[in-house]
């Protein structure tokens, strides 16, 4: 990843796009490199705020320990489960081969 103060390069953007599984044209990559750099600069700005006395958190709701009991509730039928799928076969979801032999 690029230095946070530098601009995000096009190869950086392309790498992120691969990880996010989003195909990008060269033009889009160029445009996003600019926009994401702006975002990074904005985060740089936020980082200047004094947070010395603020406890780190990963949530903002203030909730904790939200559980459910171990009880079975009805599932969808196979037909319902598959109803939104582009492609199915004999009760399975069908997708392009992930193994290339």
């Amino acid at each position: 990843m690029a230095d946070i103060n530098a601009n995000l390069s096009i190869p950086d953007v392309k790498k992120i796009a691969v990880l996010a599984n989003i195909p990008l044209t060269d033009e889009e990559a160029r445009k996003l490199a600019g926009e994401l750099t702006q975002t990074l600069h904005f985060i740089e700005k936020i980082k200047k705020i004094d947070t010395k006395d603020i406890k780190p958190t990963s949530h903002v709701t203030g909730l904790s320990n939200v559980y459910r009991d171990d009880q079975i509730s009805p599932s969808l039928t196979q037909k319902e489960a598959l109803s939104q799928a582009k492609s199915t076969y004999k009760g399975y979801f069908k997708v392009p081969a992930v193994l290339k032999d």
């Binding site: 990880l19 599984n21 559980y67 171990d70 196979q78 009760g91 399975y92 997708v95 992930v98």
Partner: protein, 456 residues
């Protein structure tokens, strides 16, 4: 081999035997079910579905951590592990990254077969995550494709990670067996390897030995690479895969190469490992806190309560069997190997105390160890009856038997004379007489011993 030290760590996945899945109420018992009949918007990753963690699964994960002598941090949370593979409908797996439920544990293994030495394997972490869907690689209408069954998607999965403390494939197997035993005793999973409820992933590298390194220990000089072998479903395959990798690495290193850091699979037919997923991009899972699940905060009281749910574990049971029943370490270790067997043994013991019979724990242990009776069809009560019946002959009152033998000797001076003059066959006649008088209750070889003693 002598110039190298193998460095082995293990990752073990255990599917928990909860009734429902990890983050939704779908039936977690998917085995043998029709495809995609145990799913809902949560475990199919449909937009807007909200995962809510299964309380029991979290407790069981902590129970495993405690049984492996881990520290249980009071603050914990779930994270998203992002990657694209169709076995994950959401595009990420809910897992735990920097705040797992259990850390810094250890497990001591004590392989009886190899002397009294023990070995401590440190446990790096025990964390909670969800299982993935099952992929079937198929050809439909002449075209290669992947079929997906999401019944397993979202089943509670515990991952146990050791430090790279293991040095031989035997140690790895001993560790895995011990861990399997503990999981079974904890009652949190059937840990059935064939069904895939327990899956093994050794990671292996080897390091050249030098005098200095022999003195130093630990992580400071771990090799620069490691090879992970994925999804092994038997202890022996794990051992074989490790052995295979060790010799493969030695060959490469001896010829001046460094083995490639990669993930490999185990081919159980050819007994080899093979490269997998090499086309895959560098791992960059971009973990971040799961925003849909608030953090988990435990109290000391809850930790204590979970600790109290841990039953007697194999080591403690072995010791107790030795102490209370006077068994040898060997016998005790065989009996406790399987939880059901050890319980069967104790139930049988209870039967003898109830019946006040002269059967020792050692005798029962022998019956069970030598599989003289099938415990799946013979109840502990029936087992004791069987043993009693078998023992009744030698258990005939010794003074009664002695009396009968003496009478037989008195009544048969001719046979006694023949025997004493060297006709050893004459003893058979005497034994026969005794057996007849005792109505077959005596044990023939015991009678023979008593007779020969008396006729000396």
């Amino acid at each position: 081999m002598n110039n190298y030290t193998p460095i082995i760590g293990l990752e073990i996945h255990v599917e928990l035997a909860t009734k429902s899945k990890m983050f939704c109420g779908c039936d977690a018992n998917y085995f043998g079910g029709k495809p995609n009949t145990h799913t809902c918007p949560v475990c199919l990753g449909l937009p807007g579905a909200l995962p809510v963690p299964n309380k029991k699964a979290i407790e069981w994960c902590i129970r495993i951590g405690l049984a492996l002598n881990c520290e249980i941090p009071l603050h914990s949370k779930f994270d998203r592990k992002n990657y694209f593979y169709p076995d994950l409908p959401k595009g990420y797996q809910i897992s735990q990254y920097d705040k797992p439920f259990a850390v810094n544990g250890r497990l001591v293994i004590k392989p009886f077969a190899r002397g009294p030495l023990t070995k401590t394997v440190r446990i790096r972490r025990v964390h909670m995550e969800e299982d993935t869907g099952k992929l079937i690689h198929a050809t439909v209408d002449g075209e290669k494709c992947t079929l997906i069954d999401f019944n397993r998607s979202g089943v509670p999965l515990v991952e146990i990670v050791t430090e790279p403390d293991i040095r031989t494939s035997e140690e790895a197997r001993d560790f895995l067996k011990k861990l399997h035993q503990i999981i079974r005793y904890l009652g949190v999973s059937d840990a059935d390897m064939e069904k895939g409820s327990m899956r093994l992933e050794p990671n292996i590298s080897i390091r050249r030995k030098s005098e200095k390194e022999k003195e130093r220990k630990g992580e400071e000089n771990l090799p620069k690479y490691k090879v992970e072998v994925k999804n092994i479903n038997s202890f022996n395959f794990a051992k074989k895969a490790i052995d295979y990798e060790i010799s493969r690495h030695i060959e490469l290193l001896d010829s001046g190469e460094t083995p490639k850091q990669e993930t490999r699979g185990w081919d159980e037919k050819k007994n080899i490992t093979y490269s997998q997923r090499s086309k895959e991009e560098a791992h960059d899972y971009r973990y971040f806190p799961e925003p849909d699940i608030p953090p988990i905060v435990l109290s000391e009281k809850e930790k204590k309560r979970i600790r109290e749910t841990i039953p007697e574990l194999p080591d403690a049971r072995t010791e107790r069997f030795i102490k209370d029943y006077g068994l040898s370490e060997y016998d005790a270790s065989i009996l406790i190997d399987d939880k059901d067997t050890s319980e069967y043994f104790e139930k049988s013991i209870q039967q003898i105390t109830n019946n006040k019979q002269q059967i020792t724990p050692k005798v029962i242990a022998n019956w069970i160890i030598n599989k003289k009776a099938d415990k799946s069809t013979v109840s502990p009560e029936e087992l004791i009856k069987l043993i009693t019946a078998k023992q009744q002959k030698p258990q005939m009152d010794a003074t009664d038997l002695d009396l009968i033998i003496k009478k037989v000797i008195e009544a048969n001076p001719k046979a006694v004379g023949n025997y004493k003059s060297g006709k050893e066959g004459a003893i058979m006649y005497l034994i026969g007489q005794v057996m007849r008088k005792t109505k077959g209750k005596a044990n023939a070889s015991q009678v023979r011993n008593l007779l020969t003693n008396l006729l000396k």
